[in-house]
Subunit: 263 residues, 2 copies
DNA sequence: CGGTATTTTGAGTATCGTCAAGGCCAGTGG
DNA sequence: CCACTGGCCTTGACGATACTCAAAATACCG
């Protein structure tokens, strides 16, 4: 039994450091102030449930730090990952929308939360905030499609390669997922093998084998089960069936970044 | 070489029957009129390209009839389906967004189109239209996640079953995809085996085999390659790994609808 | 140090990808 | 009218991959 969902520890009296999130700084001063006034900061630990599907969760959340899993619970009890949320991502349906998935902490997490009523009130008066939400949605949609492409790879190795690539590109500068280690990229994988198997549409044993297959071929090094280093980014992109995750450009940029690590 | 993208045949002088789309009828009178004033209706035939990725397509489209494919072109030339568009769906990025996929006609298609500039002008003055777009996005996001779950099924049979189920639930009342045939649901599949293979992350031979495997076990009947009848909806849902596509409720409703077909 | 969860490895079988051939259908041109 | 063509779908055979069940090894936590 998981630790249940009785909310994280709050720091209610404290004003939220909303300015930590660069996206929000594009908003006009008054909107930022209004948001700050109704903001609560919460912390959750890995494994905690933050919001449940189809339940009127009644708050909007913005991730300040850490990684969240979105997962659907299927009628037969199994669960499927449908995406990850990272710093700056917004979740919780605005307006009448329901969420059809649970949100759980994959790592320890810090959130900014807003009660829905007041939030929507601000939203109605601020086209900029509205725009921000729209862009957030578009971004999520793009990411969901990236997942689709990764999942559409016929081989497990390819899907895993795609996943690692996604971690490299979409999650650079995020949390402590990516870091440079000499001439390689070091990745902290925020998911267990079981979760990865669910995400990638396979079994945990196959995930494990795929990891070691990639390692044997010199594409990656496995330092710990959840810590790997990318040794051959190009070969990895090749394995994933092209580099079409986000931009091919961002991959190239990434490779350049490695070549001169400390500047 | 496909037929290229020089637009479909237009009916410019004609006013568009926007009221055919029920979603739009929720909009206030004046907004509907404004939209009608800048609307163009276009027709495309199966196979035509309607909009290209990363090209400022400069128009917003609403599907009036038919089915569109959204597909990403990968750097190595292969193409991957990332979703379908049906009656009422809106596409083309508003504001600064780029589309990262092509849009092509899967069947013959009728569209309403709006040039981006005037459309955004109306959008800025109408929160209702804005809301409509938002809901459309949320809906697409949900659908993308449904695809993810289907794709996450380890076996091809299961993925195909999930796809057929999706057709039954999400696409009822759409075009001529679904119809009732006695005690079964008849499906017109709007995709070739090749497209289906891309979508489901496998090869066309495997898709073919999966179809006939389901037929051998009595779950479906194959009338023509692209026309099948669902014989055992429950077993199909089981094969797909639960019925968690959209609502379990909608499946149940579907089964009831079959049991008394003509009322 | 022991206990639990996670990860890895192994062996056997089912499934799938791959290559190759053949069938079906619609359209074309003799 | 018929042979020819090309696109699409099906079928077969075989090797590669992945799923399954089982057990061992490792990491994690108190």
């Amino acid at each position: 039994m998981q630790r249940s969902l009785k909310g994280g520890s709050r720091s209610p009296g404290q004003t939220c450091a909303l300015s930590d999130l660069s996206d929000l700084n594009t908003l006009p001063e008054d909107v930022r102030e209004a948001l700050k006034a109704i903001c609560r900061q919460k912390s959750y630990e890995a494994g905690q449930t933050i919001a449940e599907a189809d339940r009127p969760s009644d708050f909007i959340g913005i991730v300040r730090d850490g990684i969240l899993r979105m997962e659907k619970t299927l009628s037969d009890g199994r669960r499927h990952l449908v995406g990850l949320l990272v710093e700056g991502d917004i979740f919780g349906h605005v307006f009448d929308g329901e969420m059809h998935f649970n949100v759980e902490a994959a790592t320890s997490v810090e959130l900014f939360t807003f009660r829905r009523g007041p939030f929507e009130e601000i939203l109605l008066r601020s086209p900029d905030l509205d725009r921000l939400l729209l862009l957030n949605l578009l971004n999520e949609l793009d990411r969901a499609r990236d997942w689709m492409i990764i999942l559409a790879n016929p081989k497990v190795r390819g899907r895993l390669a795609g996943f690692l690539l996604l971690l490299c590109t979409r999650f650079q500068n995020v949390d402590h997922v990516t870091s440079i280690a000499g001439d390689a990229i070091r990745l902290r994988i925020p998911l267990s093998r079981r979760d990865l198997a669910n995400l990638l549409g396979t079994r945990l044993e196959s995930v494990s084998r795929a990891f070691h297959a990639l390692a044997n071929d010199g594409l990656i090094d496995i330092l710990q089960p959840r810590v790997v280093e990318i040794r051959d980014l190009e070969a990895l992109a090749d394995e994933a069936g092209g580099s079409e995750l986000g931009d091919p450009a961002s991959l190239h940029q990434l490779m350049l970044a490695i070549q001169k690590p400390t500047d």
